[in-house]
């Protein structure tokens, strides 16, 4: 498994958790002894402790023989801090992988098209602009026009270099003070829908 995205829940009680995904009473017995379905331990009606597991697409390198080398890293955290294992390497482990004949990562697509598709159809934790694409041809359509004297400078199209692309502001985590205020406000004012 190259990439895995999902969440495990140490939920409620095992029975409530099982029924929440339409599990039947009969299959509950199986689930208790299944590594796939028995994802956690009972916690006596408490809130679920979810493990959110996703991935970052760091680099895609197109080789001359149309194969693609991809480098991924893992983004994985518990929604609590129970100190349990962070991930199951049997499901997926981050690193380097080679693909052949991928429908998106091939010479027919430009980096711009690839980034747009990543934006629309993929759910990596990092932004498409942060993915390093190597070996993909830049589009030829972006021609730098020389302005004529009788033309308005506004008509000039100039391809932006990568460094000029708009960058998202760096995200800072909320401060403790902010979180306390938010906790109080949300508990008093915030409505779910």
């Amino acid at each position: 498994m190259l990439l895995f995205l999902g969440a495990n829940a140490w939920s409620q009680t095992k029975l409530i958790a099982h029924k929440s995904h339409s599990g039947s009473a009969k299959s509950f017995t199986y689930s208790l002894h299944s590594k796939t379905f028995n994802k956690g331990e009972s916690n006596f009606g408490q809130a679920p402790q979810r493990m959110v597991r996703n991935s970052r697409l760091d680099t895609v390198r197109l080789l001359p023989d149309a194969r693609v080398i991809m480098i991924t890293s893992e983004s994985c955290y518990w929604e609590d801090y129970g100190g349990r294992p962070e991930s199951n390497p049997e499901l997926w482990s981050a690193g380097k992988d080679t693909l052949n004949g991928h429908p998106l990562f091939n010479a027919e697509h430009t980096p711009m098209e690839i980034r747009k598709t990543l934006q629309d159809e993929y759910y990596f934790t990092n932004t498409p602009s942060s993915v390093v694409l190597i070996g993909f041809d830049e589009p030829k359509a972006d021609v730098v026009e020389t302005p004529k004297l009788d033309q308005s400078p506004l008509k000039v199209r100039k391809k932006k270099s990568k460094s000029e692309e708009p960058q998202l502001p760096a995200q800072k985590g909320p401060s403790l003070f902010y979180m306390i205020i938010m906790a109080l406000l949300s508990s008093i004012l915030r409505l779910p829908y």
Binding site: L5, A7, T13, H33, F44, A47, R190
Partner: protein
């Protein structure tokens, strides 16, 4: 003079505090410790069991702890009066802190809408009569943010009150009412937290009893271990708060209803489906497909039956791996358009099996905020 035999329950509560396998955040090793010490013994009685809530193993564990408490209490009885009283006051104080921690933890879980979470789409589209009472209760509670807020506050208030001498009596009275209600719900709706809720009810009744029936003996029994200097109490209070609200503060999620869901989470109605010979999964008519936030895919058939599978999504290969309860895996190719919300599933041969379109499940009446003072 303290009535020595009447203090046996405190010894038992002390062992509950130490070994009842709660899912603590800051002392997560407790589960491992309990498993290591008691699970082999418990499995002599029931080889397949564990310490799941209301599993046979948990009842056996509590029985073992009762037996150990009886023995240990025998040793306590040999202490001189001063040591005995001191030991019991420590146990009584620890029991109060235990109750307080649970009240605050469960209260925060409710207040932040994490315990009775928003019902999953597959449950919302299940006919009510097909749901068991426990999941029906859980889901119904999950539809009201306001009631969860109220319930949470009603647990947090006594949880705080019982920590302080001046408010402990009233706090314990309210806490007893809370635990009585919880136990009644668990019994009435067959919710599988009966054993723990019974123990908590007994604990709160035991602790409030001396306050309600004040006699010389009861007053002597109701002595608490002094947590002076005050910083000890401050540290304990801090630990309790970290345990109960720490995860929410850490992740900034104060309303689970609006917390982000995994990719493609939701409900999908089938717009077109083709059948594949020999593929048992799609031999029946599929009406809806659901993706559960905990990593499951659920198919709803025309006859309202459901089939659930563990789900793994491979974004690069655009495949979903479904695993059934026999651990048999089936790989489906998928395509999903984030804008049109169309999800298509194909078998590995490339034949289109099923096309679906997302349903705006959050618009269902059960999830709307409704309030009417008047009906006409």
């Amino acid at each position: 003079m303290v009535r020595r035999f009447s203090l046996f329950p405190l010894t038992f509560f002390g062992f509950i505090l130490l070994f009842f396998p709660m899912s603590w955040n800051i002392v997560a090793f407790q589960n491992t410790l309990t498993d290591f010490i008691f699970l082999p013994l418990v499995r002599l009685f029931f080889p397949q069991t564990d310490f799941t809530s209301d599993a046979k193993g948990l009842y056996v564990l509590v029985g073992i702890l009762l037996g150990i408490s009886l023995i240990v209490h025998g040793f306590f009885l040999r202490m001189n009066a001063e040591k005995f009283t001191r030991t019991m006051s420590i146990l009584r104080t620890a029991s109060v802190f235990f109750l307080s921690t649970l009240l605050l933890k469960y209260g925060a879980d409710k207040m932040f809408k994490a315990q009775f979470y928003l019902p999953e789409p597959n449950l919302l589209y299940t006919p009510m009569g097909k749901l068991d009472k426990d999941i029906l209760f859980w889901s119904t509670m999950g539809t009201s943010y306001e009631y969860n807020l109220f319930m949470g506050i009603m647990e947090i208030i006594p949880g705080l009150m019982i920590l302080f001498t001046r408010t402990r009596k009233l706090g314990l009275i309210i806490a007893t009412g809370v635990f009585l209600n919880v136990f009644a719900i668990n019994i009435s709706f067959d919710i599988s937290v009966k054993l723990l809720s019974f123990i908590l009810l007994m604990m709160s009744i035991y602790l409030v009893y001396p306050y309600l029936f004040s006699t010389k003996e009861n007053d002597a029994e109701a002595s608490y271990f002094s947590t002076k200097p005050k910083w000890i109490k401050a540290v304990l209070l801090g630990l309790i708060l970290i345990e109960s609200i720490g995860p929410y503060m850490l992740h900034g999620n104060f309303n689970d209803d609006s917390a982000s869901r995994p990719i493609m989470h939701g409900a999908y109605e089938v717009t077109h489906q083709g059948f594949t010979e020999g593929n048992s999964l799609f031999e029946l008519n599929i009406k809806r497909v659901f993706i559960h936030r905990d990593g499951y895919m659920i198919f709803q058939f025309e006859n309202e039956d459901m089939a659930d599978f563990a789900l793994e999504i491979d974004q690069i290969k655009q495949t979903m791996t479904l695993t059934d309860y026999s651990e048999v895996q089936q790989i489906l190719r998928y395509s999903y358009n984030r804008k049109t919300k169309v999800l298509e599933l194909q078998n590995t041969n490339g034949t289109t099996i099923i096309s679906t379109r997302a349903i705006p499940w959050r618009n269902l009446p059960a999830l709307q905020r409704q309030f009417h003072w008047t009906v006409d």
